[in-house]
């Protein structure tokens, strides 16, 4: 099944870029507010000290990265079924933004681990699987860059995107499935969140702002994809 979608117009691309820019700016200002909230209005954890506050960035970045990669996988399944180029464009945008959030997760994690665990990195299940997921999506973006035929690029990268989706639950459940140093989930778990309210509030606000930033950056990146296709269609004739 293939959807007949006309080439995007430049005006539409501009409107999407504008929407993405506004949303991203609001989210970045919100994250600046989270910095103030975490630094000045959230208590210091007694055993871990100020380094525990890294958690308010690391966890939302991890959430956004896993959300981004999951949506790439789901949309890739839909693309293989419907062959709608909009789905492929969204998958490419979400994968790129997911890699950026994964980079934040994979840099803030070791900076927290050094004072708390005494080491920057350990090859335990959660950390290793997360690193594999990051590399898989770096490979996904490299694959997209290497293929020039649009339909071939969309089909091949959809298969890689689905592989990423398969890995996501293992990343989340790895702390239950394997013996690992990484802390267990304290919010996304069957029982109630085990955090004092002031800390939970900062975490929730940060997660909301990171999710908004995900939406904003994907919209902006999607608009850039639309503009490039509109330019190609215009040049072709």
């Amino acid at each position: 099944m293939s959807a007949a979608v006309p080439p995007p117009s430049r005006d539409r691309a501009r409107a999407v870029i504008r929407r993405g820019t506004v949303l991203s700016t609001i989210a970045l200002l919100g994250i600046a507010g989270v910095y103030v909230l975490a630094a000045a209005f959230t208590p210091i954890e007694a055993r871990q000290g100020v380094a525990q506050k890294i958690f308010y960035l690391h966890v939302p970045a991890a959430w956004s990265a896993l959300l981004a990669f999951s949506l790439v996988g789901i949309v890739s399944v839909l693309y293989l079924w419907l062959e709608d180029p909009r789905l492929d464009r969204f998958a490419a945008s979400s994968a790129e933004v997911g890699v950026v959030f994964a980079a934040v997760m994979l840099t803030t994690g070791p900076i927290w681990a050094k004072p708390i665990w005494g080491t920057w990195w350990t090859w335990d299940a959660r950390l290793t699987l997360t690193l594999f997921l990051f590399f898989l999506f770096v490979g996904y973006l490299s694959l997209r860059g290497a293929l020039h035929d649009r339909r071939e690029r969309a089909r091949f990268s959809a298969v890689v995107g689905i592989m990423g989706l398969v890995l996501v639950p293992f990343v989340h459940l790895s702390v239950y499935l394997f013996r690992t140093l990484h802390p267990q989930p304290i919010v996304l778990k069957p029982s109630a969140p085990s955090l004092p309210w002031e800390m939970l509030r900062t975490l929730l606000v940060s997660t909301l702002m990171f999710t908004l930033l995900y939406v904003g950056l994907v919209t902006l990146r999607y608009g850039i994809g639309l503009a490039a296709e509109a330019r190609e269609a215009h040049d072709a004739g």
Binding site: Q48, V104, I111
Partner: protein, 36 residues
Amino acid sequence: MPAEPPANGGYAVAAYAVAAFVLLFYFVSLLRKARK
């Protein structure tokens, strides 16, 4: 008397700075691409 929390604020400052740098760098690079 409860023990004082460890003094490790430098790590938090470093993590917050790295996160801000990565996110702003990507946002600005997208804005530059959008202008082309």
